[in-house]
């Protein structure tokens, strides 16, 4: 079974802190994604990585950065957390084009609260 794990289920941080959210997948997937999910707004893509050290901005990249140094690990960084970044953060992974139909496998999510 595909397994995607996230470093924390719940996290509380203060405004201005630097926050690291980590995601690890064990299926050798090329693609990895970070989303945030808010009531009424659905899943919104923050960043996407299709290979090690490669990244692409999603729909809402402002205030976030990412790092992918190893294939299995994709980190989301909030350089200076703000209260409007309080949300559920979901990591996902998938095979690359030609190897699948792009079905994504999600981690359990990190509920981040910024106070």
């Amino acid at each position: 079974d595909v397994k995607v794990t996230q470093s924390s289920r719940y996290l509380v941080k203060r405004t201005g802190e630097k926050v690291f959210l980590e995601c690890v997948q064990d299926m050798d997937h090329e693609n990895m994604f970070w989303y945030r999910q808010d009531p009424g707004l659905g899943l919104r893509l923050i960043y996407f990585s299709y290979d090690v050290k490669m990244k692409e901005k999603g729909d809402i990249p402002e205030g976030y950065s990412v790092s992918r140094e190893k294939k299995e690990r994709f980190s989301l960084i909030l350089e200076s957390a703000s209260t409007n970044q309080t949300s559920m953060y979901l990591c996902a992974s998938s095979f690359a084009y030609g190897l699948s139909s792009y079905e994504q496998y999600f981690g359990p999510g990190t509920r981040l609260t910024v106070t």
């Binding site: 995607v4 693609n31 994604f33 009424g40 707004l41 659905g42 899943l43 893509l45 996407f48 299709y50 692409e56 999603g58 559920m88 979901l90 996902a92 998938s94 690359a96 084009y97 139909s101 792009y102 079905e103 994504q104 496998y105 999600f106 981690g107 359990p108 999510g109 509920r111």
Partner: protein
């Protein structure tokens, strides 16, 4: 602009009935359409996908249809059970998008015993 819509109102049905959820899209020509299930506080779980050249796909009690003329997919759960209560998301795949999906906001299904 591209848009994908699911009924934002919750769907309440009686156990044993068939639940039907709708996914409509505009300004888009997806190669595949996927359906996911999401339980509260958890990540979505992939259920089914249907390709643009397929009219219908089945998996156990689940059935998905895809009408590229109407730009609509219907997701059916037959003989529904309380355990089917969850939010169901549809997602579109455009092969030129390098693996990115566009998700609908989801429809919450409540199956009452």
């Amino acid at each position: 602009s591209q848009k994908i819509e699911q009924n934002s109102e919750a769907l309440n049905i009686q156990e044993g009935k068939t639940a039907t959820l709708t996914c409509n899209y505009t300004n888009y020509s997806p190669a595949y359409l996927q359906w996911y299930r999401q339980d509260p506080g958890r990540g979505p779980v992939f259920l089914l996908l249907i390709r643009e050249n397929e009219k219908e796909k089945r998996k156990e009690r689940l059935k998905v249809t895809f009408d590229t003329t109407l730009k609509q997919s219907l997701f059916h759960i037959t003989a529904s059970q309380p355990a089917d209560s969850a939010t169901y998301l549809c997602a579109l795949v455009n092969l030129s998008n390098t693996g990115k999906l566009i998700f609908g906001q989801g429809t919450t299904l409540q199956v009452k015993p």
